[in-house]
């Protein structure tokens, strides 16, 4: 079940999430929505690749798709969406160009890498989940932390910063809550990867599912105003 059903749910949830985000993009525009939609599709590709591996077995193309989209690109692209939302357009465009070039380089490295699937069941991995250990070529896995540090700082940091700003002004409670959910959801897959390294079976896939559920819930919360948001202090103490 850990190997196929849970990542399948992650994949389906991610594509539904992407549909909602891209629908909003078509209605309202906003580059950040487009990039978040693309990032959500990457999340979905990662989940479906894991489900394929769990249900059917090893396939080099599926593994490469999983590693490129699920392990390397997803966090960075979601974070880039946040950059478009919060940063000046000039900076956002510059970082976008760098991210596209880096993503193309990552794709080249992943699709030309030598693979050995037997390595996924050895060493520090649980053996139940896909792992970058299957990549034997140098210069591929070293790319992942750079993308993930960028993605974590921008996605988690951006959501937390937004939540803090709304909280400090006591405005738009739904966005404060939504951003908190997004920030928590964005940390979960990375923690899942860490716990997977500690040989906790299923940790990565469960964390990925919880991560996309939190991101989805956060997005819905942030875009749906609440009935009672905030009130003047005098009224609150009545």
């Amino acid at each position: 079940m850990f190997g196929s059903i849970i990542p399948l749910l992650s994949g389906i949830t991610s594509f539904v999430f992407a549909f909602f985000v891209l629908k909003r993009y078509l209605e309202r525009k906003g580059t950040y929505l487009l990039i978040w939609g693309i990032g959500s599709i990457f999340y979905g590709i990662g989940g479906l690749s894991e489900a394929y591996n769990g249900a059917i077995g090893w396939n080099p193309l599926v593994f490469r798709l999983w590693y490129l989209f699920g392990a390397i690109l997803v966090a960075a692209w979601l974070g880039q969406g946040t950059i478009f939302l919060l940063a000046k357009r000039k900076w956002a465009n510059t970082l976008m160009v760098i991210l596209i070039l880096a993503s193309l380089y990552g794709a080249y490295k992943v699709f030309t890498a030598q693979l050995d699937p037997s390595l996924m069941t050895s060493g520090t991995q649980t053996g139940t989940e896909l792992s970058g250990r299957a990549i034997t070529s140098s210069g591929v896995r070293i790319l992942t932390p750079f993308f993930n540090i960028y993605g974590t700082l921008t996605l988690v940091g951006g959501a937390a910063y937004s939540a803090f700003i709304f909280w400090r002004k006591r405005i738009l409670l739904h966005r404060t809550i939504g951003n908190i959910l997004i920030a928590v959801g964005a940390t979960l897959p990375a923690f899942g990867g860490f716990f997977s390294r500690l040989q906790i079976p299923g940790a990565l896939y469960i964390a990925e599912l919880l991560g996309i559920l939190f991101l989805f819930a956060g997005f819905i919360r942030a875009t749906t105003p609440m009935r009672s948001e905030s009130v003047p202090v005098a009224a609150a103490t009545d």
Partner: protein
């Protein structure tokens, strides 16, 4: 003028439950973010969890 307009606005408050929970959640996120960066850097710098 904008400053004067802003200063006339009464301070606002979220409902009580959120006034208590949101600072805790924000603090937790900062801790999670720092922990995550330590983990990513740690993994990037070498397998310090299981040295091989």
């Amino acid at each position: 003028m904008e400053e004067n307009k802003r200063s006339k606005e009464p301070p606002r408050k979220y409902p009580v439950m959120y006034e208590r929970l949101i600072p805790l959640a924000l603090g937790l996120i900062v801790i999670l973010l720092l922990a995550l960066l330590v983990i990513i850097f740690g993994v990037a710098l070498g397998s310090w969890v299981h040295p091989t």
